[in-house]
Subunit: 267 residues, 4 copies
């Protein structure tokens, strides 16, 4: 898609020096636990700046599976269905995490060329749904992945079109951005363009696969899932007592375009 961009990254890769330095810098006593510290407050501001959304809220988590499953649980009622491409990580590779956290919600795999959800497949799912019929899990969230596990990209206008199609039916939109830095770098768009301006309500923001040590994050552009996540994360055991060590990783990652530089460097 772009011969200068490496879209596949590596869980096994090392940690960026900037991020290691940031971790060392947070090692002072007296900080407040569970995210009540200054580093976490600064991360919140950095995310607001990078995504051009003053009301955004960010929650560090320890894995992409946690980000996806908890974000989706905050968007989908137990009787709902999450729609994604049939090859999506949430369907194929997370051992039913989303279904568990969402109280037995269904995961529906949609077809589409090149690992991308096609508007026709989405429409076909809507057409075959018994809306309001309790025999049918009710489509509640469209989850897109960019780049996909196969390295394909949605352009912002493609996300916007799919999101529009979904929202006309009352769904909300989740973006699995496990490697979103690669997508932003490859597309040359702004983070806002690929997310909330295109209709994304909640983003799973990957960092560990791209130079962080132990953190990914959930980024909420919508208030309701954020309010739920305060509780959902805690009871899932995903609120680290020394959250500051995750926050500084994310803050360093997003500062000065480090995430985009890491995404364009062959490692």
């Amino acid at each position: 898609m772009n011969d200068r961009i490496e879209l596949r990254s590596d869980n096994a890769a090392g940690v960026a020096p900037e991020i290691l330095t940031a971790i060392a810098g947070a090692n002072s006593g007296g900080a407040l636990a569970y995210g009540g510290d200054d580093w976490t407050a600064r991360l919140q501001q950095t995310v607001a700046d990078v995504f051009e959304d003053p009301d955004v809220r960010v929650f560090p988590v320890v894995s992409g599976t946690a980000a996806n499953a908890l974000a989706l649980a905050a968007l989908c009622p137990p009787w709902g269905a999450v729609l994604g491409h049939e090859t999506a990580h949430i369907i194929r590779n997370e051992c039913g995490a989303t279904s568990m956290f969402a109280g037995g919600a269904m995961l529906l795999g949609l077809e589409g060329p090149g690992s991308l959800v096609s508007p026709d497949a989405l429409e076909a799912t809507f057409a075959s749904t018994g809306w309001g019929d309790p025999h049918n899990s009710q489509p509640a969230v469209l989850s897109l992945t960019c780049p996909t596990d196969m390295g394909a990209l949605y352009r912002p206008e493609q996300i916007a079109a799919l999101a529009h199609q979904a929202k006309e039916r009352g769904l909300r939109v989740h973006l699995d951005g496990a490697r979103i830095a690669n997508a932003i770098a490859a597309l040359g768009c702004s983070p806002a363009d690929l997310t909330w301006r295109a209709g994304v309500d909640v983003l799973s923001l990957g960092a560990t696969k791209n130079g962080a040590l132990s953190t990914d994050a959930i980024v909420c552009f919508d208030r309701d899932p954020a309010d739920q996540l305060v509780y959902r994360l805690k009871r899932a055991g995903h609120v680290a007592s020394k959250m500051r060590f995750q926050s500084v990783q994310l803050d360093a990652y997003l500062t000065g375009d480090l995430w985009l530089r890491l995404a364009t460097t062959c490692r």
Copy 2:
């Protein structure tokens, strides 16, 4: 498949006179609640006789969805997957009931001609499973439906072959028999031949669609799910205090081949 047999039955149909009479006959005070009564003990014996299995255990429930979902929850761990035909009622028409009761288990729809699971589709699923890899929900139960919602039938030897294929991989086998009387009548086989002799561990036994008033049942040929169901049914609210009124329906239904006669009568 058989021009004398009506495989589609009707939830809206009336109740057989034998069953109404049986209900009236159970209306004496002093009976023990929650299935501790003589009528329920008699049902247990009748099921043992009809299915030729002295150790069988039967649990009346109020719907086929309850029978399927609770039976499957007793067979599938939360990280497991239930495999069924992509058109199966448990996948298409029960609003995620199985996934809920099984703690977020996955439901995997398999292809196959004529609404029947094909051995090839089953093998393909096994081949693509990462056995022992926690990224993958682990196939734990094969759920077959006979007759299917489309009216197709598995012959006993077909069930046996699929069950054998599944058990070699450690799965257990569930039969959704919402209309099993129609299948037994059409195939001319014995209830045992179509179920435990073919490898079925747990059966959802339909009755309401075929002349009963308010009861279906779970029939366990295997001890472990039965032991679990004592608790699973209670906490699902599926243990009726006056269970005897369900038990007598099922007892009358299975006595003197009433169920098979009802299944061959156009109503």
Copy 3:
């Protein structure tokens, strides 16, 4: 409390003749399944009349446990707590049903003399709650039982006071009315006075312990839980295909004060 009133009733008791007659009367073919029938529509109107609430919605279920647990799941988020007397059936006798259906919600037992929740115990619970602190399950529902399993009664003004106290904190109010006919008969109040006029949002309406054959019900005075229950009941397997046979029992039960007469007859 009232020497003419028998507050303890019996799951093992017989079925009232009026109810048996009503069942027989619903045995005509051609009725629509899953509650889309005329008998269920009539029940809806009867409940509206008896409870003086034109917007009320009623859902027949097969047990009191189902009524309680599903009603509470529709009122309590997974991170919430349901508060009830420490001797309440939902805490002591339902094997965690409410916690299961509510996604792991907590059940908090409150003290109080005579099996009644005391305002002081409720206030003490509120005072010790970390409101907004995700370490703490957030109190979300107050569940009262009238009469209690020990036969004690809340008067309407007592329910109103507790409900007021709860609602000031944002909780909603559930009434476990497994034997509510006994309470209404003993107190000489109207059904509305003991329920929605006192602040009750959802009622578990018992009938089986008091002359019905196989049905209790959830009665929603609030719209949101009713909208959820359409789906929650289905995926719990609690939507009987021949629901009309439950609806006619409830309709006969509530018509002409049969329920109150049964509640005052020593059986």
Copy 4:
């Protein structure tokens, strides 16, 4: 209890230099993801040595809540009850995490002086349980905390006596060791004496409150919960892709008695 020992530790405290050094040392590329690396293998051996149990299995997690709730879910069926002191962290401070992961299991708070479960309270709970009666959640796990959140300690023989009492009833035993290094240091016992030799099946091993950066762990002395945790951790989002950075923290923590030295140093 011991005037030289500080039993209360601090989530906000800094990270031990040995642990920071260990993290930096694991920052080489080419390591296998999800714990398939050499550092995690070495941790496994270190835990076996420190706990004198060659078959032990250790799983790094990001919080004590994750350790407790997932360990308990692997020990308690959905219809079971976890018994702990009424002030236990799992009951008071984890927002229902255990109940969620265990499919709606009940948490029963027991009384006892000084925040310690008393044998009498345990016996009273057993005496009031309807064993085998599905109205009652069945006691399945005894969870002890040492030291407790109030700083009290069980001696090894006290744990052994309670564990014996529990195991006679078929329960398994969990130890919440969020600050277990403080207990071991204060008691002067061996890690094995306070855990599996006293009958503990699974241990939540705290490290973050005592000098680690971002990791606690589940230590299984019993095989069955360990086999489950492979899947349960994954679908809970608690398997970090770069697990080696947690493993080296724990390995450094347990090596050369660092954990015990940290526990006896006023920080």
